[in-house]
Symmetry: D2
Subunit: 302 residues, 4 copies
């Protein structure tokens, strides 16, 4: 995402305006503040504000323990304990505010995370830029044959070229018409709130988005997952890298217990215990349905 | 919105399957259940479930009063009192579940109402229909000269014809390409989650949307307002008509105190009191800014 | 909880007033409607309204799949799939409204579940009843020696008798003073909103509480857990029994995947895989901390 | 609230540890950070962290306007405009985190504000301090004769003395028994989670509480209102003073449009217009109920 000289100057100015504060400061996050992390062809993520650090999680958790806790648990151990036992409120004590530029079809998935504050660029007031997400050649994948909602193999060259031509052609044509509709030269000019409906869903929008760490973890867990659509996963991956620098203890616990961990059903627990005891368990003797067994086997082998 | 014969049969079957319940029943709402209220050219709203009625609001409010309340207020009076004094929790005791078909750009405004449950048709799994919102001739308005976010006069004939041609043409072409991209005849076929990005924002989607009466009132207050975009206002108007039949006391109070009422600032209160006392107040002596005074004058005259 | 004759008559009348509806009806839930489920010594839970059933979950999930889903999954299988993969929004389509009577210290835990609607009996308006939770003899447990927040062994007879005497004595005395303070005989009578502060936290209050099935599952998972305080667990257990009759498929999946299941960290997964391959893994070679290993061993043995 | 020397030292240390940040800094809020604002006899409010300032509200609002806005509105004017037109999301961009010590009966009102993050001192883990709210002599008011939920005249001396004696006596006795129950000298010692139920609701608890500015405004509007209970109003008043220093433009707009403003019903608007036109309007000709008219007259006179 090439920035305009004005934008580069504005960010440079922000990066130079350091001021004293009595609040908790996360050094790892200060290094990210205001900077643009490019995502996709024209998108980005920028951290524009934050609140709290690992110690804020601990502070909130400790009020619950008060005088009753004899042994002093160290901060990292306490944070791991909280994640392990699904305590969520202490993680709500950290907050992040982002400036994000993203295609509309990604924004539509993103906004499903309801516990957040959003201010989006309004195409009722303002004119959208001529910027569309056109996938990189290697991101063009066929519909998966096994997963109704996923991608399969990469498209062959001819088909990929055809797809890219159509995407570019339609973006150009619909935007030309959008411009022509709202133009006030020699005509009245259609209301922006109407004209925008002609633009395809790979047009870029932008917003400020603010949420707490607990809900950001939910976002990352769902959107950095292998089943998430690639175009939102790349945003979630950037956020993961940011969080790692912001609250390193919380991130490591989250990675171990949420991202890398998994859930077992009561039946799954029982099957594993029988296997550990030397028994050979099959789908028929597992009590699981075929679908459940297939997923179970995918992780634990046969 | 012409229904398919299957859909008509399904709705007829639902309308015939009456069953006994011990729950509160709102007769006015039973008459709406499952039926399609057409909106725009292909959209609709259908109530598919609901919970509670006027008496449920009263029941919840009364638990707060318990034995301490001597005089028995009637239900309507109590509901008016609750609305007048901004009590919101009793109105959360009623719930509604809708099936809505709407253009994507309307859905993007709608979903900003966060306190609701949503399940949307997924264009990752499924193929979108070739259905686009094409405004009626008289809905084609120019950008307002005085309001950056609004509509002004209706477009002239030539310009309107040009706009409609472009909207139809681009809808047709982008959908043709969408179909061609996902087709698996003679090619791999692009993943649906990618191909959908080529569709413009007037394509129709659908969802189940569930919220409580308090939040539905907020939705209607903001979206049935004269400043809301026409294309969402027509949905809000239908919902208003439904709510009127569902909880008539609550609706009437809402209409009187919220839809038809207005807020005064401290300065506004003071100016009105001075005027009632016979004083002539001007912007200069009002303490209001020019913008505030303009709005104030718009309501109260000079 | 002995009901007054008036209350019994009111419930009997409600149970007899069956009316036709076109909404989904859950037969298992109709059997619970309005009836009192006694909990603790004076508390209760009553379902006073509900919305949706297993089919409502399926309906909401299916809109996401639309035409793309070829194989018709049966309802139970789909619900299990949704729970297994942490899909939450379809479960928000069911709603429940309860009338609960409970001690204040239980209410203070309960209300931490924020995504719910509440109307509580107001002790600012009204006079609280002389009803206090006095634990049954066998519920009187000592502070746990190993768990700062839990209970250990049952108290011995002398100590238990002493505790019960104090609880009864203090409840009686504080309520006597409460009554004396608000009395208007021969004095002005203290405002109720002030006098109530003299009452201990085992006094009973009541409220209407409404939430959706997704959040109710969260409530039950946390509060029917062995680590939850007994006095809230008994409420959660009653709710579990109600949900089982209301949405039997969802309940069974919830029981298998949430209540009976468990989470493994990335390290836990790795240790189990090494064990299944025949390796002996110790805390030292597991990569886990001592605390994590202790919990892991508690489930999986050594 | 007399602080312990340890607490005073800790706060002094925090006040001396200034660190550089690239985030927005609100000078007015830095002056409050960590300091104790005493409330009631043993309570306090301390700001322990915050995020954003007036410019953060403006930044979020401006993204909505983008290139479409020609005239540069100044920050204060824009903030007034946002408040006047009930735009709420930009105010969600500011966040505050408090440490609050408060009586349990106040905490029970406070927590009804659901859109917030809370970590409370746990009386399951820990032992509560022997600290109770005992009202000041002049706060002891009789039940209002006209308002079921309010206070009337101050109690006479004898009655006040009696009330204070009971409050002190019962606090002392119940806390003595609480201590005796959990003591492990010569007995097992009752679990803390049980013993706490014997404490009256004027015992102090404490928590960390975090919310955004939009929800804080809702809190202040409801709790700093003349109809709120005095014991929570004093907390809301302190918060108002803090917000005034934090976001002065937002506070002034809030004060003018929310705290000092009022809502008119459609009927109220009509009556005022008729009066301004010289007509004499009575309850009979107003279309209002007697209760509505009484409130209307209370503001606008006859």
């Amino acid at each position: 995402m090439p920035l305009t000289p004005e934008q580069e100057a504005e960010i440079a100015a922000l990066r130079e305006t350091s001021r004293p504060t009595l609040r908790p400061v996360a050094e790892g996050m200060e290094r990210h503040l205001h900077l643009v992390h490019p995502v996709l062809d024209h998108g980005f993520v920028r951290v524009v504000d934050y609140m709290g650090d690992d110690s804020s999680i601990v502070q909130a958790a400790r009020v619950s323990y008060g005088r009753g806790t004899k042994s002093v648990q160290n901060d990292e151990g306490l944070i791991r304990y909280l994640i392990r036992h699904w305590h969520s409120t202490p993680f709500e004590m950290c907050e992040i505010k982002l400036h994000v530029k993203l295609p509309v079809f990604v924004a539509r998935q993103w906004i499903r995370h309801r516990t957040a504050s959003v201010n989006e660029y309004s195409a009722r007031y303002s004119i959208l830029d001529r910027e569309f997400y056109i996938p990189a050649r290697e991101a063009l994948a066929a519909q998966s044959a096994v997963n109704n909602q996923g991608r399969g193999e990469t498209l062959g060259d001819d088909e990929a070229a055809r797809v890219l031509d159509w995407l570019r052609e339609d973006a150009t044509q619909t935007y030309d018409h959008y411009e022509a509709m709202i133009s006030q030269e020699g005509q009245q000019g259609l209301a922006r709130e109407l004209a925008r409906m002609n633009l395809p869903m790979n047009v870029y929008t932008q917003w400020y988005w603010k949420t707490n760490l607990h809900n950001l973890f939910n976002f990352i867990r769902l959107r950095a997952d292998a089943h998430a659509q690639y175009e939102i996963r790349v945003y979630a991956d950037v956020l993961g890298a940011v969080v790692k620098d912001w609250v390193p203890f919380a991130w490591q616990a989250f990675e171990d217990f949420r991202m890398g961990g998994l859930s077992l059903s009561a039946k799954g627990v029982e099957v594993l215990k029988r296997r550990l005891a030397g028994e050979v368990v099959t789908q028929e003797t597992s009590g699981m349905s075929k679908g459940e067994w297939r997923e179970f086997e995918g992780v634990w082998g046969v």
